[in-house]
């Protein structure tokens, strides 16, 4: 008895701090990796950042000049992707959660194909997008081709997260709204979607994040042209393609590659922040005071 008690005491004295150390250590390691990355980018790229860099055109294959047209193309591609993927993804998720019985055969088939799609490497989406949107539909190398390819790529993430967050809404709410005589559409619009909003936004952010970081799916669809796009049918180079080209293909392009990467990360943080703010202040309020 005495031995066992002492062992427990020693274990408490040694193991507890060790666990604390491990937990804190892991968290610090993750944060440290991110800070190191951002620090490295700031160190190499911050001095080049300026309004002129953000607004002017690239010169000498991107070694000098800015990223104005590339920034515009990136945002347009992202806009097309979100505009196409969000309604499709939301509708599919609503079908899966609200209209199909759980474990229905069709539902499981859709779920399976989504999981397979989510695991497909992005270069495959790039080649598919090139064959389907650029060649078969005749959209050529264009922002539209690139955006639609990205939409296909982020759909699985979007649907899966939207589905999960809709399923997390308690069934009592559905029953309650039915008891109050709300139609299914009204219940969806006023109760279920607002209640699931933070999950929906999180899914959207995951999708946008993946889309912004995409290179392989875009080089064959939206292309390489670094001119300011004048329509969605123009080819436009995305930021990630620009960074890849500058660091891997253009001797002396590293400086501007760092600065462009900094802009990309800044843009991601900005989009994340905006989306989270919207989710908190705009969608949630609708439940409390519809």
């Amino acid at each position: 008895m005495f031995e066992a008690g002492r062992f427990a005491m020693v274990r408490g004295r040694v193991l507890e701090p060790l666990m604390t150390l491990a937990v804190w250590g892991s968290a610090l390691l993750v944060a440290g990796a991110f800070l190191w990355l951002v620090g490295d980018l700031l160190w190499h790229g911050a001095e080049r950042l300026s309004w002129a860099f953000l607004s002017s055109s690239p010169l000498n294959a991107g070694r000098t000049g800015g990223i104005g047209p590339i920034l515009v193309s990136t945002l347009l591609i992202l806009g097309v992707a979100v505009a196409a993927a969000v309604p499709l993804g939301l509708a599919t998720a609503v079908l899966l959660t609200e209209f199909l019985r759980p474990r229905s055969r069709f539902g499981r088939l859709v779920g399976l194909s989504l999981d397979v799609l989510a695991g497909v490497p992005s270069i495959v989406f790039g080649l598919f997008g090139n064959a389907f949107f650029s060649v078969f539909l005749g959209l050529g190398f264009s922002i539209l081709s690139g955006g639609l390819t990205l939409a296909c790529m982020v759909l699985p993430i979007l649907i899966r997260t939207a589905e999960a967050s809709l399923r997390a809404v308690p069934d009592d709410w559905r029953l309650g709204s039915a008891a109050l005589g709300l139609s299914r559409t009204a219940a969806l619009r006023h109760i279920l979607l607002p209640a699931a909003s933070s999950g929906l936004v999180a899914g959207l952010l995951l999708g946008v994040g993946r889309a912004m970081a995409e290179t392989a799916a875009l080089i064959f669809t939206s292309g390489y042209v670094d001119r300011m796009p004048s329509s969605l049918f123009d080819s436009g180079r995305a930021l990630s393609v620009h960074i890849y080209d500058l660091s891997m293909n253009v001797a002396g392009g590293d400086g501007n590659a760092y600065a462009s990467a900094l802009v990309l990360i800044g843009l991601l943080i900005l989009i994340n922040g905006t989306a989270l703010y919207l989710a908190e202040h705009w969608l949630n309020r609708r439940i409390i005071a519809p």
């Binding site: 000498n60 294959a61 991107g62 806009g79 097309v80 505009a83 969000v86 309604p87 939301l90 060649v135 190398f141 539209l144 619009r189 006023h190 979607l193 607002p194 080089i219 064959f220 292309g223 390489y224 042209v225 670094d226 001119r227 004048s230 329509s231 969605l232 049918f233 080819s235 080209d245 660091s247 891997m248 293909n249 253009v250 001797a251 002396g252 392009g253 969608l283 609708r286």
Partner: protein, 276 residues
């Protein structure tokens, strides 16, 4: 989705469609050249394209990257007006016409701290086929050799194999890379590595203090000058290729790309302009 955001979404979509349709109308009147292919050539040709656009208002030059094999395929299928191919055409590609716009030399590079000053051709072959695996066998330190090779389908790989009479399957590589810069960065970060890259970019990186060393080939120093005068044994032409006899705008662009008016652009991308 709440009503407000649905409306916003629809209006944003309609604005985008409106912009897309209205903005695309005037372009029908523009003349457009599409060029696709070699990622090595793409930055140079994009710069040539910009100057060509300035001198010929109403013309648009769209350059797409993707590799020499793609340049061949797109020129054949008509998807591109001109293909970009960073090597000479092969015997089974003689249905295409090629126009050289610049030269590019390829040489072997090692880390600056590697004491090896030169390698003979048989030594290079033995290193790349795995018969020599330690630097000591060729006069270096007692360290294993890290062989850096190019990925399948890269023109530099094909040129290298052809020059040393090797087959792709003979090579035992430890690192397989894609673009030029990746090769330079790999060797700069590994004192035991050996790789082969474009001479122009390697010379530039050395001048920037990147710790790499260019090895001479068959006794000829690896320099842009020796590529220009034809003495360096391992060089490749950078080509524009077309399917048929070129005419009109395509012809005009090819002539422009081969003229002295783009020499500064060729040199700015660390390639070797044609002698005129």
């Amino acid at each position: 989705m709440p009503r407000l955001s649905l409306n916003r979404y629809l209006s944003a979509l309609s604005v985008m469609l409106l912009v897309a349709t209205t903005a695309s109308i005037p372009q029908a009147a523009e003349r457009k050249l599409v060029l696709t292919g070699s990622s090595t050539l793409a930055p140079l040709v994009a710069e040539i394209g910009k100057r060509f656009e300035q001198e010929n208002p109403g013309v648009r030059v769209d350059v797409q990257s993707g590799g020499s094999s793609r340049g061949i395929a797109d020129a054949r299928s008509g998807l591109a007006d001109i293909g970009l191919v960073s090597r000479a055409l092969k015997p089974d590609e003689q249905d295409l016409k090629s126009f050289t716009i610049a030269l590019d030399g390829i040489t072997l590079i090692v880390h600056k701290d590697n004491p090896v000053q030169t390698l003979t051709d048989p030594q290079i072959v033995d290193i790349y086929t795995g018969k020599i695996t330690r630097w000591r066998a060729v006069g270096g330190a007692d360290r294993p050799i890290t062989v850096v090779n190019k990925a399948e389908g890269r023109s530099t790989l094909e040129l290298f194999l052809h020059h040393f009479q090797l087959k792709s399957g003979d090579i035992t590589a430890h690192v397989v890379i894609g673009e030029n810069q990746q090769g330079i960065k790999t060797v700069a970060g590994n004192t035991s590595a050996i790789g082969y890259v474009s001479i122009g970019t390697a010379e530039y990186e050395v001048s920037q203090g990147v710790p790499i060393k260019l090895l001479p080939m068959a006794g000829v120093d690896a320099s842009v000058e020796n590529v220009r005068n034809g003495r360096f044994p391992l060089a490749r032409p950078l080509n524009l290729v077309t399917k048929a006899e070129s005419e009109g705008l395509v012809r005009q662009f090819i002539d422009f790309s081969r003229s002295e008016r783009v020499h500064d652009l060729v040199e700015a991308q660390y390639f070797v302009p044609l002698a005129h």
